[in-house]
């Protein structure tokens, strides 16, 4: 049991904090949010130089071979700074999947370019119907089909809520290639050139980063067979593995954001004067701060545990718990902060809270919301072993003849004694 980061990770954290405070202050975040692309190519190049794109990629592909905890450190700082970038899409959701399932050629070809910042990738998984039916992140939700046609496959259908698709070089598209059998055994991953004829993009008008998520329409898009990542019909397992990692990293982003919100809120409670006193002297305001802090602590521990658990066998429940918890808790944290900031906290251009709250809506829902992960927790609970039995000599505690704690008798005795 050790809650501390390693020395290297502490260094990474400090470096990331310093870099983002300097290069990505609130003004830059706001500017990028109004930019069509939704990210800054210049900052993307800089983080490639810092090694952030290769942090979890093995050395043989140019990365530094770190683990999920290293990624967590970086994503926490990115969340704190509201850093807009396609890091999660490119490195984790697509990069890790290619690393897990791709052929040697694919890995040699793609991973070094990801590490260098030359490629942006986007994961095309969720669909309009599945997202409405609550199956967005379940294999049953994949209905867009890919049909073999000579040396190619033809993909036809709509993917929705695809992050970073409009700036991507490749899409990693999950498509249905078999209808019989269990639904997770009929999904294939295709690496689709984002400029392929027949693909069109439309930016979605979302609360945060309004230009970062897309509708992607595949109109009979041709993809060569050699662009299949992993085995035919076996795409779900590697993809979902990356989704799990991604979900934990979203938790890390919420932890980073929550930490900053906590600092700002408590500081405001101490310095804002109304009724001739700091507002933080009122227990109502203190209650907001305390409820915020206790949830923030819980988010942090749950996320740290989950990031560690990603590298351990048999810990799916704890991973699911992290996202189930953080998604709801972060919403609550934002709400508590808003209560303390009152009017000024709602002013879109004066205050940073609107940025956090809106980004929060994205992070809560992306890669599985609370109900989705609660269901995963429940599935794991079903496997819980029964409680072990004790074997000592019985005390006859449940013998009906036994004289029990005479609650009512004590009451009567007491009443009589008065």
């Amino acid at each position: 049991m050790d809650f501390a980061l390693s020395e290297d990770q502490e260094m990474l954290k400090t470096m990331a904090r310093d870099f983002l405070e300097k290069e990505c202050p609130e003004a830059v975040v706001r500017q990028i949010e109004t930019d069509e692309r939704g990210y800054s190519p210049e900052l993307w190049r800089q983080i490639a130089e810092l090694g952030w794109l290769g942090i979890s990629i093995p050395e043989e592909y140019g990365g530094t071979g770190g683990d999920a905890v290293d990624l967590m450190v970086i994503h926490e700082e990115m969340g704190r700074a509201l850093f807009p970038s396609p890091h999660l899409s490119t490195v984790v959701l697509c990069g890790h999947t290619i690393l897990e399932a791709g052929s040697d050629e694919q890995k040699k070809e793609l991973l070094p370019k990801i590490v260098n910042g030359e490629l942006i990738l986007a994961m095309a998984l969720t669909e309009p119907e599945s997202s409405w039916d609550g199956k967005a992140w379940d294999p049953e939700g994949v209905t867009v089909r890919a049909v073999p046609d000579g040396d190619d496959y033809i993909i036809d259908g709509i993917k929705l809520f695809v992050h970073d698709a409009h700036i991507a070089d490749y899409l990693l598209c999950a498509a249905r290639t078999r209808d019989d059998g269990p639904s997770e055994e009929g999904i294939t991953l295709f690496l689709v050139d984002a400029k392929s004829p027949g693909i069109s993009y439309e930016l979605l008008d979302t609360l945060a980063n309004r230009n970062k998520q897309c509708e992607v329409v595949f109109d009979k898009v041709k993809v060569p067979k050699q662009n299949i990542v992993g085995e035919l019909n076996d795409g779900w397992a590697p993809l979902f593995k990356s989704v799990k990692t991604g979900a934990v990293l979203l938790c890390a982003q919420m932890v980073g954001a929550g930490q900053r919100i906590e600092e700002l809120t408590v500081d405001y409670a101490k310095t804002r004067i109304q009724f001739d006193m700091p507002i933080g002297i009122n227990q109502h305001v203190q209650e907001h701060c305390v409820q915020l802090v206790i949830r923030q602590d819980a988010c942090r521990y749950a996320t740290q545990y989950a990031a560690w658990a990603l590298g351990q066998p048999g810990q799916d429940m704890e991973v699911a718990m992290a996202k189930a918890w953080c998604s709801e808790a972060f919403e609550h944290i934002c709400w508590r902060a808003h209560q303390v900031f009152a009017g000024v906290g709602t002013m879109a251009v004066l205050h940073i809270m609107p940025l956090y709250t809106r980004r929060g809506i994205v992070m809560e829902n992306y890669l599985g919301d609370t109900p989705f992960w609660l269901e995963k927790v429940a599935l794991e609970l079903e496997k819980l072993p029964p409680h072990m039995k004790t074997k000592g000599k019985p005390l006859g505690l449940w013998d009906p003849q036994r004289k029990q704690v005479p609650v009512w008798e004590i009451w009567r005795e007491y009443a009589e004694s008065l």
Binding site: I281, Q283, W308, L381, E382, L384, P386, K389, L395, Y414
Partner: protein, 406 residues
């Protein structure tokens, strides 16, 4: 970052597990501890303790010099977490957590010789006698007086809500020994024999069936040697005591209750299917499991932090102490929604479900307030943890007077 247990800890926990499996009665249900306040079960824990003594476990965290094993906070937590998984406890637990630390840190050498060995053997039961009708959250407002008279002190006053069952050997009593401002500098702690002439008890059952006591002190005489630590430093001793009480480990007990309730949710049927497949039950179970996982993490964070003190400095607040109190009522509510009208049934009803536990969550409301209410814990987090402002105490009396004028 590492959330697994070291080999050493695992070994310790495995030994503890075997011990509990073999020693705890097979009809023991740790989810229903009310029974365990009865006299004969107190006797059971005493014996359990004595068997543990052979391994050195009950006093593992004490310094070697006084019969302990000098275990670190993490090793202690490994033991106590396994204990909590089984719902086991050492005999004379209050003496272990209250009297022993005080005597060890602030007692005289004679007091150590007198108290430590029998406490270590689990032979002494003690009550923590702090609360009075007018001194609840405001512990420093204790009015029970101890007045010197020759080689003795004479105690007069009343305590209330005191836990521990019946017939304690000793009363660890917080008394007023000086009229000073601030009030907490005029308090001292005395060890009062439970059967001293002038001490009388009135039982106060709680709605959950546990037994509290009102204790009256009528010209009770105790020798001067029974003063623990220094005169008028009692409040600080009480605070140290709390520090010791905070040893972590509740978390694994949390896992036990999930295993238990899942066992039940598999056997019980609703609409012809196992209860866990019912959508409301599923939601409740998953949320409960998360709260318990977090309880586990908060507990271990505390233990880890204690073990890292030198590196990290003092922990200014411990949100873990608030944690399960926050969710106890929430989980109870959810359980009530799943059990519906059956929530009302006590364990003895032939229609009772899940051993009558859903309703007990509500009856166990008393546990939320023992050892300081959640509101006071919030005040502590806000004040000492976050450094939020508060009205300086010395103005409280004036404000209260002013309120009467309005």
């Amino acid at each position: 970052m590492e959330f697994g247990f070291s080999e050493e800890q695992q070994k310790l926990m495995a030994e503890m597990r075997d011990f509990c499996i073999n020693e705890l009665p097979e009809d023991y249900d740790p989810e229903y501890t009310g029974r365990f306040q009865e006299a004969e079960t107190q006797e059971f824990w005493k014996q359990f303790h004595q068997k543990g003594v052979q391994k050195g476990w009950p006093t593992a965290g004490w310094p070697k010099k006084y019969g302990g094993m000098g275990f670190s906070a993490m090793e202690q937590a490994a033991i106590s977490s396994e204990m909590s998984y089984w719902g086991a406890r050492w005999g004379g637990i209050m003496a272990m957590t209250l009297v022993a630390p005080t005597v060890l840190t602030s007692g005289t050498e004679e007091q150590r010789e007198k108290w430590i060995p029998p406490i270590a053997r689990g032979e002494i039961t003690a009550f923590e006698c702090f609360t009075e009708p007018d001194a609840g959250s405001d512990e420093a407002n204790v009015q029970l007086r101890a007045v010197p008279d020759g080689d003795e002190y004479v105690l007069n006053g009343q305590k209330t809500f005191i836990s521990g069952g019946t017939k304690p050997d000793w009363l660890y009593t917080l008394c007023k020994t000086a009229d000073v401002t601030p009030k907490h500098r005029g308090l001292s702690i005395f060890m009062v024999p439970g059967d001293a002439p002038g001490v009388s008890y009135r039982p106060l059952p709680t709605m959950g069936g546990s037994q509290q006591n009102e204790i009256f002190y009528d010209n009770v005489r105790v020798p001067k040697e029974n003063l623990l630590g220094e005169l008028n430093r009692g409040f600080y001793l009480a605070m140290t005591t709390f520090e010791f009480e905070r040893a972590a480990g509740g978390g694994l007990g949390a896992r036990r209750s999930m295993e238990k309730i899942m066992e039940y949710a598999r056997q019980e049927k609703r609409n012809g299917k196992p209860l866990y497949q019912d959508s409301k039950a599923r939601d409740m179970l998953a949320r409960m499991a998360i709260h318990k996982h977090l309880e586990f993490l908060f507990g271990w964070y505390t233990a880890w932090h204690r073990s890292q003190r030198e590196r990290l400095g003092p922990q200014h607040y411990n949100s873990g102490t608030l944690w399960h109190r926050l969710w106890q009522t929430f989980d109870g509510e959810k359980m009530g929604q799943v059990f519906g009208m059956y929530t009302q049934l006590r364990q003895k009803s032939k229609y009772a479900r899940y051993n009558g536990r859903p309703g007990r969550t509500w009856e166990y409301m008393h546990a939320i307030h023992a050892a300081g209410s959640p509101e006071i814990r919030r005040v502590v987090i806000a004040d000492r943890g976050l450094g939020l402002p508060r009205i300086p105490r010395q103005f409280n009396v004036q404000i209260n007077e002013a309120l009467k004028q309005v």
